[in-house]
């Protein structure tokens, strides 16, 4: 019985993240549009886009290899698995222990690896520019996120996400400088990893400024749909991650009743909405950076993470 219960919760999360991801993207777009005094597309527009793309033929470049066709599914699968392992409404997921926070970060690294390879596959200059810039951004974002993980792990004495959020919910936390540093760092990394303004612009096809869009330029039809869905999942993953670490209220612990799950899901949706709205607000008020300013921006995240870790090595209470 307990096994079935666990399986249902884990399966529920798996489906929930998949279904909610396009909604979150639509919501962010809507809020952005409203902030610009535009009416904007309906919130469910991303679902329509996905359905339309799935029905269309794939137009494949003449010299595309098998890797180009396999990569979208790998990218989607790895992102989905990673998103399903982050506690959204409950901490005691059945397969939580499959991957700790370091492994989740590394899974996203695998996603980026294949995306960058796909960008190089056709041999167009835009694909190359996207891949090369993406790897430059990753080379700073990935160490930053690892240092952030280190800080969290030192505070909570665990790299396991469920343990971390349980710890954050307990009264032992208090106000810590290192956690403040890490929050800022994590937000910076999340912005860069999701290709949002000011690092990249998800809405543009202006050649010289795009990174993520340049890599997926040659994709079409169902391949593009799967990649778009993976990008939405990634945004959802990062907001859920920040929420489950820094605002763990409402997360369902083990062995709770149905009401708790409903409440937990509602809390999660509310957190997503707040996170999405803040992201939209931030994107509206800030301008896109030049590509070679990005290292400074991400370097700040790396330094914040390193500083947080150093503080904790020096004193457990900071």
């Amino acid at each position: 019985m307990a096994l079935i219960h666990d399986l249902v919760v884990q399966g529920g999360q798996l489906l929930l993240v998949l279904l909610m991801a396009p909604l979150l993207t639509g919501f962010v777009r809507k809020v952005k549009a409203r902030l610009l005094r535009r009416r904007g597309a309906p919130i469910i527009q991303p679902y329509r886009d996905l359905a339309r793309l799935l029905q269309k033929d794939v137009v494949l470049a003449d010299n595309a290899s098998w890797l180009f066709r396999v990569a979208p599914y790998l990218i989607f699968a790895a992102t989905w698995v990673a998103a399903a392992l982050v506690p959204t409404f409950a901490t005691s997921l059945m397969f939580n222990w499959t991957a700790d926070l370091i492994a989740i970060a590394a899974l996203l690294g695998s996603v980026r690896f294949f995306l960058a390879l796909a960008g190089l596959d056709i041999g167009t200059s835009f694909g190359g520019i996207g891949s090369s810039r993406e790897m430059m951004i990753a080379s700073l974002a990935e160490p930053a996120i690892l240092m952030i993980v280190f800080t969290l792990a030192l505070v909570a004495k665990s790299t396991q996400l469920s343990t971390i959020s349980d710890f954050m919910l307990s009264s032992h936390v208090g106000v810590r400088i290192s956690l403040g540093l890490v929050l800022v760092g994590l937000i910076i990394v999340a912005i860069a990893e999701n290709a949002r303004v000011p690092v990249d612009n998800p809405a543009t096809h202006l050649e010289l400024t795009m990174v993520h869009e340049a890599m997926v330029l040659e994709y079409s039809g169902r391949h593009l749909a799967v990649i778009e869905l993976a990008a939405s999942l990634k945004l959802l993953l990062y907001i859920s991650l920040i929420a489950c670490i820094f605002t763990p209220w409402g997360l369902v612990r083990a062995d709770a009743g149905l009401a708790a799950y409903v409440l937990g899901s509602a809390a999660w949706v509310a957190k997503l909405a707040i996170g999405g709205a803040l992201l939209a607000l931030f994107e509206t008020v800030i301008a896109k950076m030049r590509v070679f300013r990005v290292p400074t921006f991400l370097g700040a995240a790396l330094m914040l993470g390193l500083l947080g870790t150093l503080l904790l090595f020096v004193s457990r209470s900071l």
Partner: protein
Amino acid sequence: MSAAFALWCVGLLLVAAAIGTAIPRRHVATPIVYGASLVASVVALAGALAALIGPAPVSTATLPLGLPWLGAHFRIDALAAFFLIVVNLGSAAASLYALGYGRHEPAPHRVLPFYPVFVAGMNLVVLADDAFTFLLSWEFMSLSSWALVMAHHRLRENVRAAYVYLVMASFGTLCLLLAFALLAGVDGAYGFEAMRVRDAGPVTAALVLTFALLGAGSKAGLVPLHVWLPLAHPAAPSHVSALMSGVMTKVAVYGFIRIVLDLLGPPEWGWSMVVLALGGITSVLGVLYALMQHDLKRLLAYHTVENIGIIFIGLGLAMAFQAYQVSWAAALALTAALFHVLNHSLFKSLLFFGSGAVLTATGERDMEHLGGLIHRMPLTAFTFLVGCVAISALPPLNGFVSEWLTFQAILQSPDLPPWGLKVLIPAVGAMLALSAALAAACFVKAFGITFLGRPRSPAAANAREVDRFSLATMFAFSGLCLLAGVLPGLVIDALAPVVGGLLGDRMPVQLDVPWLSIVPIAEARSSYNGLLIFVFITASASLAVYVIHRFASRVLRRAPPWDCGFPDPRPITQYTAGSFAQPIRRVFGTSVFLARERVDMPPPGDRRPARLTVELRDLVWDMLYVPVAGAVDATAGRLNILQFQSIRRYLSLVVAALVALLLVLAIWL
């Protein structure tokens, strides 16, 4: 496996070397020599596996060779058994690969005699149980590999590589000689057994550590002693490159572990800082150098430097924990280091085999002339991709597991009391994270430029898939990379006796954990399950494919590339290796390499082509080696007069030297 059995395998290798010397130019020589090496390696591998997993009593053997009053001692304990596995796994694969690859060798008589000797030398280093045998085998290994580096000696750069290698190898052996001399003490106890029980004073221990670090470090490729490695490893034939990068550097790591953790005993914590700092710097610099390369084999060789850095970070952590008797954490760190030793020997050999296949198929090592090989060589491309994912430390393959374990070991360290370690270890953690991220960039570049895109030369456009032996080897190693990645518990448990023998503690038994997860300390703290990750990704990808193809569209049309409406079919418009690395060069290279770009743009109307030149400086070479070489040269010039003396002067010099030595001895004793 008994030590005598291992010596028989070495004997078989020497017979193969004799055959290689006798009939090197015959066509049958290649299969005979590599076949015999393969058999010897496989037998030794099976024996070593049995010795490590089975209830292994320590086995010794003595041969009446070497110093007359000492004999040559050999011994297999858990540590030696593990490294015998690494050596023989690598050499078995290299021999199998060479059965196919060796047929393209233009000068077999320069390779066949030395290859089995090289393998035998590496085996003997691991087997040796006294200083004399160890050093002799070490020299065997160095000199035979030097001969293999010189195999294609008509290329000027190979001659230079071999020269630098010879100088550095002599320097390394000299350092090891001094280390062993200090360990043996004045009464000349050269057996390892005697060294183990001897208690070295703090000054001697410090000196031994310094010499061990210099000697083993120069062979392994620790910065700043790495300069020979990216020159020599690519110069050799590819299967030898795989052995040098994948295995010989591990033998050097073995030498370091044997001397420092076994013979000397875990030293004071201050030394762990030196090892940690060197490891961190080595890992970051190694991968940055690798990113700047466009020669495929040289890129791989530089990347070996990075991995050696990761291994030394693990070793440094183990030393730090052991100095404070936190033996369970030391066991975790050492397990991580040894796991990475195994992993690196797997994927680096695999990648060198892949680069050899590319070299056979196209005759090119320069990535700027390659591209699009995934169409012409799909099987090689697949295995090379597996190697790239594994070496970039991405789950679910094996490279990630050992780096994950190293990260877990780093996270156990805030309780270590010294302030130096408190500041250094987080910094080393950041360097490790940085090098992991840069490694991914490096291998996106290596795979993307070589195998993807459109062919940049006619050679690449007309490449053909390589022979079956090579493919079988590469697929076998890809399989092992996956296996070690999804079943890491097996490897960790197999490493337990090795770690236990050195530190007296071990990681928790992993095979008891449900679902084959690995749990370094406790499940609430951290756990990882490569198998489930692999299954989940495979299942959800298959599910996505099935659902989409069943319920949505499955139509596929081919068309010219889109490229924002401006497709240019010429391959020259693609991103190159240099342009791919340009953003990272701008971010890191300006400080590390003093990189400078010069653009020469002709004015309008002028029809000469525009030029972009990039200057990179190797600061280690410029600031360390050039001055040292200059000083040696100048001193040699001064001392040159000694060469043109009369016989009386010579005799008086000899007498003076003798008197001086006796004086030193008299004062010292």
